[in-house]
């Protein structure tokens, strides 16, 4: 619906839900409730696009990424990847898919085997998937990947602990690229990095996207990075998407009261701007996804809430071209 006519999206998610059962009892366990980590979301990503997924911790960003990668089997909904629904595929049919989709995590340290040399870490997926059986050519590929990611090929002989956080994140990126993927989930991929290094890695991701025609789902809680790296952005709150629009449109004209509260809470690095800013922190804290509020999940904290917000769940409506908002009070 939001794509150029004639170009099918690479990824389309329809009504995706992931409810984790909460069980009680050691011997005979019974289900006592659900964590509604993701509770019915829809979005699509065009080929070559970067979609940002933002929201505070626990809102379901990682779970959404894991469902798409089929590291979780979603409770409900469809995940159309390149036109094919992969949401229910059994594990053995996912092998081919695993090559096309990769993930880059926040903490490169915990996701890299500390006992392996960097070169072997990057070579392993190539070897396991039989992409390059010849060891010499495999080594060459590893060196290429390192230099594409801005690392000296000599790093192939080092261990992860001998590198800085930024360098390790580049190794994580090189490893993801080793499979020649077309789609990468970046889950807080630059969140742990210092700003000066973060900007280097953001630029690298953007260069790689252009060079290899990659498509990204960029999950992050840092809104400033998302504004600059992503073409479109979806804002999540308690398992739902509350707003979605082109990046500049979303940050310049936020319409959902939650998005507005979220943006007003981010201080910008300029004392003149800060001195003139109205500050409206959202009251209270995020409720539990076990018993989320009825109707609109944001209503208990919302300054605009009316009676109806407690009863009816708002759906995403297109308020301006390409700008979708799930709030019945936004006119």
């Amino acid at each position: 619906m939001r794509d150029q006519p004639g170009t099918a999206p690479l990824l389309e998610v329809r009504g995706l839900a992931m409810h984790f059962p909460i069980t009680e009892g050691m011997v005979v366990s019974r289900k006592v409730g659900d964590v509604k980590a993701v509770d019915g979301i829809d979005f699509s990503i065009a080929r070559g696009e970067t979609l940002g997924l933002v929201g505070e911790s626990g809102c379901g960003k990682t779970t959404t990424g894991r469902c798409i990668l089929r590291l979780e089997k979603p409770t409900q909904g469809q995940i159309l990847y390149d036109g094919k629904d992969i949401s229910r595929l059994p594990q053995k049919e996912l092998v081919g898919l695993r090559r096309r989709m990769q993930v880059i995590f926040q903490d490169p340290y915990s996701s890299l085997n500390p006992r392996m040399k960097v070169g072997d870490i990057i070579a392993e997926p190539i070897r396991v998937h039989g992409l390059e059986p010849d060891p010499r050519r495999r080594r060459d590929k590893v060196r290429d990947l390192l230099s594409v990611c801005g690392l000296d090929p000599k790093f192939a002989d080092r261990y992860p602990h001998e590198m800085s956080g930024g360098q390790r994140q580049r190794v994580g990126i090189a490893r993801a690229l080793a499979m020649d993927p077309e789609f990468i989930v970046c889950d807080e991929a630059v969140s742990a990095l210092d700003v000066s290094i973060q900007a280097q890695v953001v630029n690298l991701l953007e260069d790689l996207r252009e060079r290899y025609h990659l498509t990204y789902l960029f999950i992050a809680h840092d809104l400033s990075v998302v504004r600059h790296l992503c073409q479109r952005v979806a804002v999540m709150y308690l398992g739902r998407i509350v707003e979605m629009a082109e990046s500049d449109e979303l940050f310049d004209n936020p319409m959902h009261p939650y998005t507005q509260a979220l943006l007003s809470a981010v201080p910008v690095p300029d004392p003149r701007v800060e001195a003139g800013r109205q500050f409206r922190p959202a009251r209270g804290e995020i409720p539990s996804p076990i018993n989320p509020p009825s109707g609109c999940v944001f209503h208990p904290r919302c300054p605009m809430a009316v009676d109806n917000c407690r009863k009816a769940r708002p759906t995403l409506r297109e308020m301006r071209p390409g700008h979708w908002v799930a709030c019945s009070e936004v006119k």
């Binding site: 930024g166 000066s196 900007a199 600059h228 910008v268 690095p269 003149r272 922190p281 804290e285």
Partner: protein, 337 residues
Amino acid sequence: MPPLLEVRDLHTEFRTGAGVVRAVDGISYTVDPGETVAIVGESGSGKSVEALSIMRLIPNPPGRIVSGEVLFDGRDLRKLPEEEMRAVRGRDIGMVFQEPMTSLNPVLTIGRQITETLEQHQGATREDAEKRAIELLEMVGIADSRRRLRQYPHQLSGGMRQRVMIAVALACNPKLIIADEPTTALDVTIQAQILELMKSLTQRLGVAQIIITHNLGVVARYASRVNVMYAGRIVEAGTAEAIYHDPRHPYTVALLKSVPRLDQPRRARLDPVEGSPPDLTKLDGGCAFRPRCRFAVDKCATAYPRLETVGEPGHLAACFRSGEVAAARENTRESAA
């Protein structure tokens, strides 16, 4: 009026397998009564070690305060007997850390954490301490404070725990609060609530604050004066206005340019600071920023630039080329206009 805190040429180092880490390598700055001063820098620049050095909480071994003075309210804290120093901690200087879970005692109730401080430092009776604890919890915005008193830290959310830490820090009417990354672990909306709370309380009670953070937005919103740290030194100091709008150290300039801003339209590319921070065991006599600096000249390798006044009084930068830095900025501004 004399400053409340004056740190003079403080040096702290750690002996590690890889060599001596000069974590704090000659730092001087002041904090006036009631004022909020920021220490900003990227990870590993020595911010926490600097704060712990003031409080004399550096683990020894491997750490050691090598030299310097910490004048607080007229006394050199480095010369106090340990017993008097204990009284300074928690009574005269309150502390708020990034992860309240590690600084709150997990086996004590919230109430006990506060009453213990009051009994220890102010000789309050149990009953008075409890009454005051309820007041303090209400002051930091914890509703239902009577019930909360009997809860344990793990039963509270991260934001609530940080409110408790603030209550503990304020319990004995301190003159100074040192907040080391107080909201880094929290989500932005909670971060905003906590920072606003700290601002309004310190203003109301006239408490001075040192906010230590890597977040340039937080500094812009809350600090009146700013110290920028790089590799164990303060490379630039001044009012927030001077630091953000008239930076004179190449690192400050580069750092500000590298931050993506929420209030500016999408840019295709960000402007990173190229290279990476130095290994603190391998510092030489030159400027630690020079390998990443586009203004560096030969001299930068042989001598370390002192912090000197640039522009307005109180605006200091440690760079031989700060004049050229300012001129280059003028040029880009003109060519942009």
